[in-house]
Amino acid sequence: MKNIFLADDDTDDRMFFEDALKKVTIPTHLTLANDGLELMSNLETVIEPPPPDVIFLDLNMPRKNGFQCLEEIRNTSKLKDIPIVIFSTTTNDDAVNKTYQHGANHYICKPPSFELLVKAIETVLTLEMWQKPQPPKEKFVLVIS
């Protein structure tokens, strides 16, 4: 059972993600957050084991955005090794590079099709299952269009 955290301010995207996750063959448990603040408070209350296996993070969120969360998580000793996958609409090179510089492990660009979303999540989780949490080094962008 993989413990998955998601932070996304868009209702539809949260729904898509939840439904896509159900179609993924790996058993998972999902904790949702409506924005960065909620994500950070979720993480705090679950600091006692088990910590999340993967955090999916949207970038554009009110109150606390993805970059701020990224920075905070990587600066918190109990959270800094958790794999983080950015889940966003931006394909801008500068933005993508910035997420890697701030410590993201992978980047998924929100695809315009449900099947592709399922495939993307499945791919990322499969990678993460067989890898120890890595310090941010990988340059792996799933841009599906």
Partner: protein, 397 residues
């Protein structure tokens, strides 16, 4: 004896006469001796005088020789003087002629002087006029400076407006894509999850919704690409076009292989271009050539470029620069009717059905904008079902 007495008497007289004459002669002889002594003394004196005269004569002879040398030199000097006098007379004659000439010129100068006085009066008048013009020009200049200031303000405003437009375009296309993506995802979910609850008609409607949404996606992406060609920075570099064309051909290698297309790249030269924009241009033209191929034959595309001088350009288009790089892309595809040669460059205008050949109709619009960014011209010629040729003229400097 009377005769002897006469004779004796006569002899006595004669002897008295003789004795008298002898006395006289003795007086005379004494006088002569004195005279002779005097003469001897005078002869001695005369010999002294003669010796002195000989010396004097030698001196005179020597001086005469000297005088003759002087005389000879003087003769030479005289000949020289005579010659120089002749020269001076020639000079004098020339000077007389020169003087006549000067006199004539002086007359001319006086005429000129009179004309100049008239001309000066004219100039003074014109200077007056010029000063009036000058004053008017100063006012005009102030006006121009003011207008230049206004233009710079307009220019600065335009730069800001452009930047705002660029970010507006980016943001709106980004924001437009958000709900579009939702439509696409929801329709894929409908088909995937709810197909058992949908009638065939409903499924058809959903599929057509997806099509429309995908088309809108392409339109937005293309609009973004178009706006980037108008607002992006323009850095010109002298580049060998071959490298760019080869890269673009490589991008299409799968399509080329799948359609058994042949691409001929000939006579490629260097040109002064914006590399990333030129690559987009070639991408659009070659992509079109591959896309609009004729069903009866494999696509054959010829790409050429060479430097030309203005007089050789086709179409008699007026090209202000002197040298151009003339690039042609020719294909054997579907071609087009000549009446549409300008139409195809218009935004979102197509000659083919969306269902038969995909595309939004922005490729050539972007191509034209890129060529214009290079201060060049692009024209198209085509023959229906035979093929098309695109001519691009980019200034060399």
């Amino acid at each position: 004896m009377e005769e002897k007495e006469k004779r004796a008497g006569e002899l006595i007289i004669a002897n008295k006469e003789l004795t008298f004459q002898n006395k006289e002669k003795e007086k005379r002889a004494a006088e002569l001796i004195i005279a002779n002594k005097e003469l001897a003394f005078q002869n001695v004196e005369k010999e002294k005088r003669a010796a002195e005269l000989v010396i004097a004569n030698k001196e005179l002879a020597f001086q005469n020789e000297e005088k003759e040398k002087r005389a000879a030199e003087l003769i030479i000097a005289n000949k020289e003087l005579i010659f120089q006098n002749e020269e001076k007379e020639k000079r004098a004659a020339e000077l007389i002629i020169a003087n006549k000439e000067l006199a004539f010129q002086n007359e001319e100068k006086e005429k000129r002087a009179a004309e100049l006085i008239i001309a000066n009066k004219e100039l003074i008048f014109q200077n007056g006029e010029k000063e009036k013009r000058s004053a008017e020009l100063i006012i005009a200049n102030k006006e121009l400076i003011f207008q230049n200031g206004e233009k710079e303000k307009r220019s600065a405003e335009l730069i800001i407006a452009n930047k705002e437009l660029e970010s507006f375009t980016y943001i709106s296309s980004h924001d437009l894509q958000e709900p579009l993506r939702k439509i696409q995802t929801f329709s894929t979910r409908l088909i995937a999850d709810e197909s058992q609850n949908l009638s065939d008609k409903a499924k058809e409607y959903v599929l057509r919704m997806q099509d429309a949404a995908n088309r809108m996606q392409s339109l937005i992406t293309d609009l973004l690409a178009y706006s980037r060609t108008t607002t992006s920075e323009r850095k010109f570099e002298t580049t060998n076009l071959n490298t760019i064309i080869e890269a673009v051909v490589n991008d299409f290698k799968e399509t080329i292989a799948a359609n058994h297309a042949t691409i001929e790249v000939a006579e490629i030269c260097d040109a002064r271009i914006i590399p990333f924009q030129f690559r987009q241009l070639m991408h659009n033209l070659i992509g079109n050539a591959l896309k609009f191929s004729h069903p009866d034959r494999p696509p054959h595309i010829i790409i050429k470029s060479r430097n030309i001088k203005r007089s050789k350009t086709r179409d008699q288009k007026y090209l202000p620069e002197k040298e151009y790089c003339h690039i042609t892309v020719t294909d054997n595809g579907l071609g087009f009717e000549p009446q549409y040669k300008d139409h195809i460059f218009e935004i979102f205008k197509r000659l083919h059905d969306q269902e038969k050949i995909a595309g939004t109709g922005i490729g050539l619009t972007i191509a034209k904008k890129i060529v214009e960014n290079h201060n060049g011209i692009i024209t198209a010629t085509g023959e229906l079902n035979k093929g098309s040729t695109f001519d691009i003229y980019i200034p060399s400097t």
